[in-house]
């Protein structure tokens, strides 16, 4: 789960991490008493909004409203800006970088910090980055903070303020089931205070059940992806036109790869997962059909998923939605014979992934 900047700031505040004052606005008129001077920032879930003109500065209320007027309704990446966040301008002396994320290899949270933050962070040379694991189970120990202070070269008071923020950021990371807590810049102000200039927060989707308060937050999904998500279906819309549906993320990816090698382009990534509920399969297929593919490439390797159950769902969805798209079906595994029978007259059977991909490309071209 991703969070709009203003929402991330709200959660940072809850953990006692200093953030700039700010107000959210959906119309220019919502801005009544913004902190001045301020930066008016588009609230979108993609990066690069600065370059896209989604951040403007204002010294007066009028200027702030003017900026909001310019930004609201703007398109950034695939999104239309619906809200702006007018945020107090900071008197920054130094921009640091700080993040906590997960290091899969070490099976531990990883703290990354740099004495040079802000826009340039990705070009900071490797040796200027400070990386240290935050040991799970035993909690944050003082040695981490000592090493950090040394690496950032901060004076004593600054070091103690940054340490305090690290402690709180780690508490947030653990308490909110976060995948990423990123503060860039971590701003050292001219008056000595240290503040989270911008906050990025991603929370583990699998932990949604522990954080029902986040369930309804808007995410960066297309309407169809949103519909699929609500039904618990793993579905991503892609650029191509061949509707790919398979079971298991690895197999779905591999199917897209093989299709690509055969000259086709996938329009969907639809992972049926391990379901063997025909109703669920039907729902998934309905989503797929709404993406209006020119051909459907179905690739099932039955293990938990029984092939006939999938076939039944496919048949029902096609019949009920009266869609007449060629379906190339490659079905292996448990009950594959019954599955072929069920799809008789609807799908074009294939023996292998390669053959199925070839047939799909040919069907699109008018074949098979």
């Amino acid at each position: 789960m991703k969070f709009y900047e203003y929402k991330a700031h709200e959660i940072f505040r809850k953990y006692g991490i200093p953030v700039p004052r700010g107000v959210l606005a959906a119309t220019p008129e919502d801005l009544v008493d913004p902190p001045l001077p301020c930066a008016v920032k588009a609230q979108v879930l993609v990066g690069g909004r600065g370059k896209a003109g989604g951040i403007k500065f204002a010294k007066t209320l009028e200027e702030a409203r003017e900026a909001a007027r310019a930004i609201l309704g703007m398109t950034i990446g695939p999104y239309t800006v619906r809200q702006v966040y007018a945020q107090e301008m900071l008197d920054i002396a130094k921009e640091l970088y700080l993040s906590i994320t997960i290091d899969r290899s070490a099976r531990a949270p990883l703290l990354i910090a740099s004495a040079t933050g802000g826009m340039e962070i990705e070009s900071v040379p490797e040796k200027s980055l400070f990386r240290i694991h935050l040991p799970p189970l035993v909690g944050l120990q003082p040695y981490v903070l000592r090493a950090l202070a040394k690496k950032l070269g901060l004076p004593k008071e600054g070091a103690s303020r940054v340490s305090d923020i690290v402690r709180k950021a780690f508490a947030l990371f653990e308490g909110e089931d976060a995948e990423l807590v990123e503060i860039n810049p971590l701003a050292v102000l001219k008056d000595g205070r240290v503040m989270a200039g911008d906050a990025k927060l991603i929370v583990d989707d699998n932990a949604e059940y522990r954080h029902p308060e986040y369930a309804d937050l808007p995410q960066d999904r297309t309407p169809l992806e949103e519909e699929a998500h609500d039904k618990g279906i793993t579905f991503i819309q892609l650029d191509g036109d061949i509707g790919v549906i398979a079971n298991g993320a690895g197999l779905t990816m591999a199917t897209l790869d093989v299709l690509n090698l055969k000259g086709g382009r996938g329009g969907t990534f639809l992972d049926l997962g391990g379901t063997d509920d025909p109703e669920k399969v039907k729902q998934a297929f309905e989503i797929l059909l709404k993406a209006a593919p020119s051909v459907i490439l179905l690739n099932i390797f039955g293990g938990i998923t029984k092939a006939d159950t999938v076939a039944q769902g496919v048949r029902e969805a096609l019949e009920e939605m009266h869609v007449n798209v060629p379906v190339i079906a490659r079905i292996k595994g448990v009950n594959e014979d019954r599955a072929r029978e069920i799809l008789q007259g609807i799908g074009h059977p294939a023996d292998s992934m390669e053959e199925a991909a070839e047939l799909a490309v040919r069907a699109k071209a008018g074949g098979p």
């Binding site: 991703k2 970088y97 993040s99 994320t101 997960i102 290091d103 899969r104 290899s105 099976r107 531990a108 990883l110 990354i112 962070i121 990705e122 980055l129 799970p136 189970l137 089931d177 995948e179 990423l180 990123e182 860039n184 990025k200 991603i202 583990d204 699998n206 932990a207 059940y209 522990r210 991503i236 892609l238 398979a246 079971n247 298991g248 993320a249 690895g250 197999l251 990816m253 591999a254 897209l256 790869d257 093989v258 299709l259 690509n260 090698l261 996938g266 990534f269 997962g273 391990g274 390797f301 039955g302 293990g303 938990i304 998923t305 292996k332 595994g333 448990v334 292998s352 992934m353 390669e354």
Partner: protein, 286 residues
């Protein structure tokens, strides 16, 4: 020999009375696995497929001497069940359950390690020592005993490849589905290490995916082992995944892509398949 699991392993099924638990208990029994006990709190005294059900792992271990467990309990209860199994003294814990918050796994994995318990998964198809025993959910019929060790992050894609290996006339020693989650009990390099020391295993197939750097680390280790290694990497054309802020870029340092992984394996002298089933072709030409 095989690794981790064999015909002597005495297995508990945690969550045995659930839909998946029942189904796969039957399949594991069919495969010859010694499923000695099931655990579902509150259902002690029942039985599933003739396997006695206990209220707790402690009761199950006491009564049956079980030394391994496979876990089918839903994600919100998985941590509880995993720690219970570890405390009850099992040496091998296979976590099939998917969608477990990874913060739970950050606790489970080091704790299990401290107590000498090897964890496979979560979010994995489990483990099979072909012809001996299965602690997992893979379809039985695609496996045949042999000398190919298989390591994989995914489920059905593995079946696809295992099936191709078997069709090509080879067989498997142990197939380890390590799982695709951010925090897993046995990493890909660790699985390689295990198979590299197994006498039955003569060659090793690695089925990887985009994301993370496990394949790159595995490739580096593959360079140091004597057995031939074959790899397939899924996701060459996958949409770019969720971007983990700047941190993601900083951590991965250009690794994590299919290209990076393929190059790493090639640099280690491993053969890399373009299609899943090409693994079989490469094995044959070896």
């Amino acid at each position: 020999m095989a690794v981790l699991l064999d015909e002597k392993t005495k297995l508990i099924v945690q969550g045995i009375t659930g839909h998946q638990g029942q189904f796969h208990t039957e399949k594991m029994l069919e495969y010859g696995t010694k499923v000695v006990a099931g655990v579902t709190p509150g259902k002690g005294g029942e039985n599933v497929q003739g396997v006695p059900v206990f209220d707790s792992c402690f009761d199950a271990v006491d009564a049956t001497g079980a030394n391994a467990s496979i876990l089918f309990v839903p994600a919100p209860y998985a941590k509880d069940a995993a720690i219970e199994a570890v405390e009850a003294g099992v040496e091998l814990l296979v976590m099939i359950t998917e969608r477990i918050p990874f913060h739970d796994c950050l606790d489970i994995m080091p704790y299990a390690r401290a107590k000498g318990c090897r964890v496979i998964g979560p979010n994995c198809p489990g483990l099979i020592s072909a012809g001996k025993a299965k602690a997992g959910i893979m379809p039985n019929h695609i496996f045949k005993e042999g000398d190919v060790g298989v390591i994989s992050r995914s489920g059905t894609l593995t079946y696809e490849i295992v099936n191709a290996i078997t069709q090509a006339g080879f067989g498997q020693s142990t197939c380890i589905g390590i799982g695709g989650d951010p925090v897993i009990g046995t990493s890909m390099p660790e699985a390689l290490e295990l198979l590299s020391k197994d006498r039955q295993t003569k060659r090793i197939v690695v089925v990887g995916e985009i994301g993370g750097t496990a394949e790159e680390e595995t490739a580096r280790r593959a360079k140091r082992i004597r057995k031939p290694v074959f790899a397939y990497i899924a996701g060459r054309t996958a949409p770019p995944g969720k971007r983990m802020g700047h941190a993601g870029a900083i951590i991965s340092r250009g690794m994590g892509t299919a290209d990076s992984k393929i190059q790493a394996f090639e640099a280690a002298g491993a053969r890399v398949a373009a299609y899943p089933v090409e693994i079989a072709t490469l094995l044959r030409s070896d």
